[in-house]
Amino acid sequence: MLNTIHLYIRSMGMLLKSHLQYPASFFMQTLAQLVMEGGEMLAVILVIDRFENLKQWSGANLFFFFGLMSVSFYITEFFGRGITGNFPSMVRNGQLDTLLLRPRNVLTQVLCSGVDPRRISCIAVGVTAMIMGSNMSDVSWSFLKVLALIESVLMSCMLILGLFMIEGIFCIHSVKSVELVNALTYGGRSACQYPIDIYPRPLKILFSVVAPFAMTMHVPAAYILGKPLYGWPTWTVFVTPLSGIAVLFVMSMLFNKGIRFYRSTGS
């Protein structure tokens, strides 16, 4: 386990260095990402400008939710690029074969194969939105709240990584990447940058049970903002986010099972 982490950090370092070999291109792309995420935030700002409140949530609260989603989602894309971006093409062009020959777990190697430092600007936008949101909603930070926030971000990253793995699992079987899974990952991002309790029941169930964004993000965030979700007691804030690691665990089991059925596309 320790060895794996060491390996991961080493490859991240190397990949980062290789990305920074082209500083101009890196800078341009990071800027493009910044503008893109800025556009998303602009949409939220315009919504708040027109509607002011969203049921019990004030505009400031909405910034916090938006920021939390951006930070978690883009940290995952930053460090989990191997799963979120590269994997389908690795299956299609047979690159995965080389990984199977090496004496390490395939999943570890896939994770070590990619990093996407351009996302740093998206993360920055997310952090800004979160600070704005917490200042404007007058959050009084305490040790417990900081802990809840850290746990929430960590577990959300695990959840998102787990959801992206579903695409990988499908990919092993059907070679083509499956657009449908985007409904859970990118759809989840769009839907859950707003608090869950505004949605009708089917969507609530989907994002609380199947893809539990509500559990990893909205329960802690609502606690931090001082408006506990559904009036749940405080201990739930620290228990429900654990569903993120549960999803990741189940998905990695399935992934390791699925990889046994992998047939190379050859060439």
């Binding site: 493009a32 503008v35 556009g39 949409a43 509607f51 969203l54 499956v178 409904a183 969507l203």
Partner: protein, 263 residues
């Protein structure tokens, strides 16, 4: 002329091949539509607006139905620029700009019809306020269709301008994602243009991006009365001509100093 016509037909047929991807795409797009409509319902419950919610839902569904028309790009051309086989295209006895213009037009048209029609049927069946409403009037529907056609002309022209940038920078990522963002924001996909602040709308509806789908949707839902039709169509046609001329100029100057990658 015949060459362009057969390219068009071939691309139509080719796009029809991807029916599996189509079903996945439809479900995904439907899902996004439902999430957005649910969000706007919740927002409307908090603070009602002058604009009826039915119109917002219709706007969202039409945007989702024709999403493919907006984002479809020609992957072959991207690859060709990257690996240098664009040199073969330079040898063809056709005008390169129109060759690719026709290709992308066929791809966008077929791709969006295949996805859009089933999606609109489902959207009509959803309960009132959640689904799509009928057009404001028959002339409104007809003028919306004409506007959609002009919008398609603008979209293909914009796509070729993006490609012209790619030819220069040789890397599709930076510029394409920037222009893509402008597209989804200013065309009303991220947030209906009808919900932008009213003072902004005056400017935004004049920009080329509003001509793609927004103009057509507003004619459909009666936001633009039929009496405005000449002005709207003139604006669209004007932008189409400007964008096509700009694109031709860019492609022409690129052709003279094209960098062929390879080795």
């Amino acid at each position: 002329m015949r060459a362009y016509f057969s390219v068009f037909r071939m691309r139509l047929k080719m796009e029809l091949q991807y029916r599996g991807a189509m079903i996945g795409g439809i479900i995904c797009q439907m899902f996004f539509g439902i999430v957005l409509v649910a969000l706007y319902h919740a927002l409307y419950e908090s603070k009602g607006q002058a604009l009826p919610i039915e119109q917002v839902s219709t706007y969202v569904w039409l945007q989702q139905a024709f999403f493919r028309m907006m984002v479809a790009t020609d992957p072959d051309l991207n690859d060709k620029i990257k690996n240098g086989s664009i040199s073969y295209d330079l040898c063809r006895p056709v005008n390169l700009y129109w060759f690719y213009y026709i290709r992308i037009a066929a791809q966008k048209l077929m791709g969006s019809l295949m996805r859009g029609i089933p999606m609109m049927i489902v959207a009509f069946l959803l309960p009132k306020g959640w689904g799509m409403s009928l057009p404001a009037s028959i002339p409104g529907l007809c003028s919306g269709l004409v506007a959609l056609f002009l919008g398609l002309l603008c979209m293909c022209a914009l796509e070729n301008i993006t490609m012209a940038f790619t030819m220069r920078t040789l890397d599709p990522r930076g510029m394409q994602s920037l222009l893509g963002l402008l597209m989804v924001t200013l065309s009303g996909n991220l947030l209906p243009l009808t919900l932008f602040p009213d003072s902004w709308q005056k400017v935004i509806t004049m920009l080329p991006y509003a001509q793609l789908l927004d103009a057509s949707i507003r004619l459909y839902s009666g936001e633009y009365p039929v009496s405005d039709l000449p002005v709207v169509l003139l604006r669209q046609a004007g932008w189409a001509i400007v964008l096509i001329l700009l694109g031709i100029w860019m492609w022409e100057s690129n052709r003279k100093k094209m960098i062929i990658q390879g080795g």
